[in-house]
Structure formats: C-alpha cells, structure tokens
Amino acid sequence: MSERQDLTVREEALAERNRQISTVAPLVDILENDNEILLFADMPGVDKKDISINIDNGRLALSGIREVKPVGAVTWEEFGDVEYRRTFSVPQTIDVAGVNAELKEGVLLLHLPKSESAKPRQIEIKAG
C-alpha cells in the first residue's frame, strides 16, 4: 500500500514539471547518402548545454530547452520558454558510436554515419 502511494506522488510531481514549460516538436530536414544520414532540426535560442541527444534501442530522442530571459517591460511576446522534443526511429545500420552533432545558428545538425557493413559495395567479378 505504501509503495502505491509513493508511485502516485511521483506521477504528480512529473505532471507539474511538464506543465511549466510547453513542449513542441522542432521542424526537421532529413537527408541521406551512401555514407550517412543527416538530420537538421530548428531550435532557435537553445544553448548548446541545454540540448540532449539520446540514442537507445533504435530510438533517437532529441530534447532542447530554451529560456527566454525577458528584460524590462514586455511590449509583446510571441515566443517564450519552450522545450523542443522529438523522437525518431533509427535504422539498425547506424554506427551509434560515430554519431556527432553540431549547433550552428540555432540549427542542430546530426551526422548519423552508416556502419561499414551497411554501405553499398560494388562487387567485382573475377576473371575465371
């Protein structure tokens, strides 16, 4: 019984934290060539340290938190604090260890290299 109470309390705490900041899915572009998959995600105003990228069990989870620090009096405000969050399925052929990310002008760029075995290969016919 006591265990169950503990569980419900924790759920409420989570819900509260989620309500403070709204979550949106960032817009993305996904490109692919023979060697890698590129993922561009728009995350304006997100600092490098506030971005987390997790790859686990074939799922890539992106999360970036933006804090808008207002100064003085607000005349108008069309964008505010937000969490950019989106999850993608990653094919098995991605070399997880080789994934790298860069953040430039509010755009997150992920390089997802394909593992050697997944790259297309030209097979040569040996002269018999």
Binding site: D42, E78, F79
Partner: protein
C-alpha cells in the same frame, strides 16, 4: 461450470489491470502527439518579442539557420524593417527524406512605440535569435523629476 466462469472473470480482471496500467504508461511517458512547431518562418514573418527597458527598446527575432549576411535591417525614423532569406538545406548527392524547414524569405516591419536614436543600434545574432537593442531618442527617455 461455475469454476470456469470464475476463471474467465479472473482473466478479465487481469486484462483490465493491464489495460489501465498501459493507459498510465501512455499518458506519462509517451506524449501522444506533440504540437508541430508550425511556427518556423512563415509567410507572415518570424516570431518576435519586444521589450521596453525605459532607456532602450529590445527586439528579438527567431531566425534559425539564417546567416548574418542574409539578414537586412533597415531603420527609418521609428519604422523598422527586417528582411531575411534562408536557403534550403540541399546538399550534393543526398537523398531527401523529409523537408519541413525549407527555404523562405520574409519581410517584417514594425512601427516602434517611440522615437529611437538611429546611431545607437546594436544588433547581435546568437543561436538563431536576432537581438536588436535600440536606444530611445532623448525626448522619449524617462526622466527623474526632482521635487523642490
């Protein structure tokens, strides 16, 4: 016969429990569908914030993926115009799976709430946010009035 009904009953109870637990899991851990950020740079222009600190006006504009050279800011009296273009992220030899961001160009203009000193404008671009700090013109600045 009765024992069999009880068996069914027990099975259904277990299924109900599983069902409600799964509902809990879905509600807590998996967000069913996030609202799409249909608020990139649209035809009506990027989203902006404006703050008034008394001495200055501060305007912030969301311009992800736009380089410094692709932005054009014009100030005329208290009329401010911001223009920008973004090129598509097309790269040689790449296959496109999904394009949501795309290339756009926009113009957005404002009438500022007070006169500003056009010589004292500071524009910075960081992490896809353009920040403009405009000094108010002398008559528009707040003044402390001393009581004699």
């Amino acid at each position: 016969m009765w024992t069999r009904i009880r068996d069914f009953d027990r099975m259904f109870q277990a299924m109900d429990l599983l069902h409600s637990r799964l509902n809990g899991v879905v509600q807590n851990d998996v967000q069913p569908r996030l609202p799409a950020a249909a608020w990139g740079i649209t035809e009506s222009g990027p989203r902006t914030n404006m703050y008034d600190t008394g001495e200055t006006l501060e305007i912030r504009v969301e311009v992800p993926g736009i380089k410094k050279d692709d932005l054009n800011i014009k100030l005329q009296g208290n009329y401010l115009e911001i223009r920008g273009t973004r090129k598509a992220e097309s790269q040689e030899g790449f296959l496109t799976h999904r394009v949501e961001r795309g290339a756009t160009s926009f113009t957005r203009s404002f009438t500022l709430p007070s006169e500003v000193d056009s010589n004292k404008v500071e524009a910075t671009l960081k992490d896809g946010i353009l920040t403009l700090v405009l000094d108010k013109a002398e008559p528009a600045k707040p003044k402390q009035i001393a009581i004699n």
